[in-house]
């Protein structure tokens, strides 16, 4: 009989192999799903995983999709490391988009080169402000940040709906729930001619590097890691838990807000009630699969982006609902959590004879 045996110390090798194992299992599981749905699994694999990246345009779309994911995920990872569970990145994303849209609409018609930087700042501040609510309620009133940040996602969604159905609705928009299109000065410049890949991607990479520096090279980041891995040691050393909650949530919110800004000023070019497309939730998976570290998050965001685009391809070519992406994304996290057991445990064969009576 197989049984789990505790390792003397956690395996570093397994902590890197486990995400790979999860990816392999997800692909295998995905092919099973395709056959269960009566599709050819190899064809499914090709369309889902290979089709999206078969040319330069496809690659640029992949990077475009990965942009908000890596931004949200690096912000979340900083908090997760200190056991600050911000799961409302989706709401912070939307508020970042709202704040940036507010600036764009207020300075409508402006040609100023400062407009875009102002929107970037507004986006980050909008997200951070939304995350400040759970931070305040957690530090002042001990209210669980998981539930508060999550509730605020629904509030944010309704707030966006109100804006685009009400005061911010485009007067020439045939009553669609959307704002007017932004002017050129309020749009992210495109990085690669002929694609939609925009400056936000470069920004996201910069934030990843900054996130790496914060987590691995700064004292504040060190304190947060200690708080997550050895809470007692952190308390003994006198690290302020309150400050860590604030840092975790505000940085997470700012990064998510930036991602929201990048969406409205990038591929969307306006604010609509569909602005939150689940990136904030998917980013939770990205953060975990990326092992809460910057480089891992970069790879994981590309993988998750592939799952998103694969879903769209499956809808187009296999006639499957695009929500199959979410199924695969959930499977990926399940398999990762399951594989992680091998970091702390190993399988051992137990022979019945040895037991004896």
């Amino acid at each position: 009989m197989l049984e789990l045996e505790a390792r003397a110390e956690p395996s570093r090798l397994m902590s890197w192999l486990s995400p790979l194992l999860a990816v392999v299992l997800t692909i295998a599981g995905g092919m099973l799903v395709f056959s269960a749905l009566g599709k050819d699994p190899l064809e499914g694999f090709r369309i889902f995983f290979l089709n999206p990246v078969k040319d330069l345009y496809g690659l640029s779309e992949l990077l475009l999709k990965a942009t908000p994911l890596m931004l949200c995920a690096i912000g979340l990872a900083i908090g997760f490391r200190a056991n600050v569970w911000n799961i409302g990145a989706e709401g912070q994303f939307m508020l970042g988009a709202v704040a940036a849209t507010g600036v764009a609409l207020y300075f409508d018609g402006s040609e100023s080169a400062l407009l875009l930087p102002a929107m970037i700042v507004a986006g980050a501040l909008g997200g951070a402000a939304w995350a400040a609510i759970p931070a305040l309620l957690r530090t002042r009133f001990n209210a669980n940040e998981i539930l508060v940040s999550l509730m605020l996602v629904y509030v944010a969604q309704l707030f966006v709906s109100w804006l685009v159905f009400g005061p911010w609705k485009d007067p020439d928009g045939f009553n669609f729930p959307q704002t007017q299109m932004f002017g050129d000065a309020a749009l992210m410049p495109v990085l690669l001619e002929g694609t939609r890949l925009h400056l936000g991607f470069a920004l996201a990479l910069a934030v990843l590097v900054a996130g790496y520096a914060f987590m691995n090279r700064s004292f504040a980041g060190f304190r947060m890691r200690v708080a997550g891995e050895a809470p007692d040691a952190a308390r003994y050393a006198g690290f302020s838990a309150t400050r860590m909650i604030w840092i975790g949530l505000l940085l997470g919110g700012a990064a998510a807000g930036l991602a929201g800004m990048g969406e409205v000023a990038g591929p969307m070019g306006q604010l609509t009630d569909k602005v939150g497309s689940g990136y904030g939730f998917a980013a939770i998976i990205v953060a975990f699969v990326g092992r809460l570290n910057a480089f891992g998050i970069l790879l994981a965001s590309l993988l998750m982006a592939l799952l998103y685009i694969g879903g769209e391809q499956a809808q187009q070519y296999l006639n499957l609902p695009s929500s199959i992406s979410m199924v695969f994304q959930g499977m990926l996290l399940f398999f990762l959590l399951g594989s992680d057991v091998f970091i702390n445990y190993r399988l051992r064969l137990r022979r019945r004879a040895v037991q004896g009576h």
Binding site: I87, N142, L320, S323, M326, L333
Partner: protein, 310 residues
Amino acid sequence: MDASLFTSMLFATVVAGTPLIIVALGLLVSEKAGVLNLGAEGMMAMGAVAAFAVTHHSGSPWLGVLAGMGAGMVIALIFGMLTLTLMANQVASGLALAIFGVGLAAFVGKPYEAVALQAVPPIRIPFIADLPLIGEALYNQQALVYFSWALFWGLLWFLYRSRAGLVLRAVGESPASAHAIGYPVIRIRYLAVLFGGAMAGIGGAFLSVFYTPMWAEGMVAGRGWIALALVVFATWRPLRVMIGAYLFGGVMITQLFIQGSGLQIDFPSQLLSSLPYWATIVVLVAISRNANTIRLNSPVSLGKPYRPDA
């Protein structure tokens, strides 16, 4: 407020509170055993879609409820295997369950989005349904409303009067001691998680088969999360879960009644709709403010993995 408006608001409040009661009581049992399952939203979504599909194909809402219950249990089992057998982090696994369940429900439910079900007639309890004001509201209700009351009384008895309930609570307070006395901690936790999944599935079934009756992606609309908040708000006590669930039901309904009343108030409907979510936050703050309330009432080993040394 005239009498008939009072009756219909009370009726609607009870209906809106019912899924919250069923789901939150199920979660309460899991948490009493020390397992924090944040995947309620996903289990409800799966329950809702499974119940809807089976009701649509079989014509029987009761088979639908059973299917919803089964679906909730199946995905709760995945959570159990991850957290109890493989000792994965409960918070992360619960989030995974929430994301996966909502996604899978959306995927499976796609073909049913344009389908409508026949409304299930309420069950009228003779005599007491004739009581003035409250009779029609409380005793001419859906079967699952009565089920939620039975569940409440049953749980009160189980948790505080039965030996099995005592063991369950012991497992949540101190799994090591329970194990030392010889109780199968992991098996008991599995059962508690499955019960939580079953109730979340029934709660979802109530939404899609009895409440609306239709299926739409995102129709659970955060109720799984609200149920989780309710358990904290109730400081892990069944009676307070009931009260809390009806309070939330009341908030949801008041907001709907204001929108539907044609009252000329100048307040946007979207912002009114966010009221229940704000209410959840306010209540969480009110109850958590005193750190001791939470510390004294929450099961001591809640959320902590336990592995008996063989």
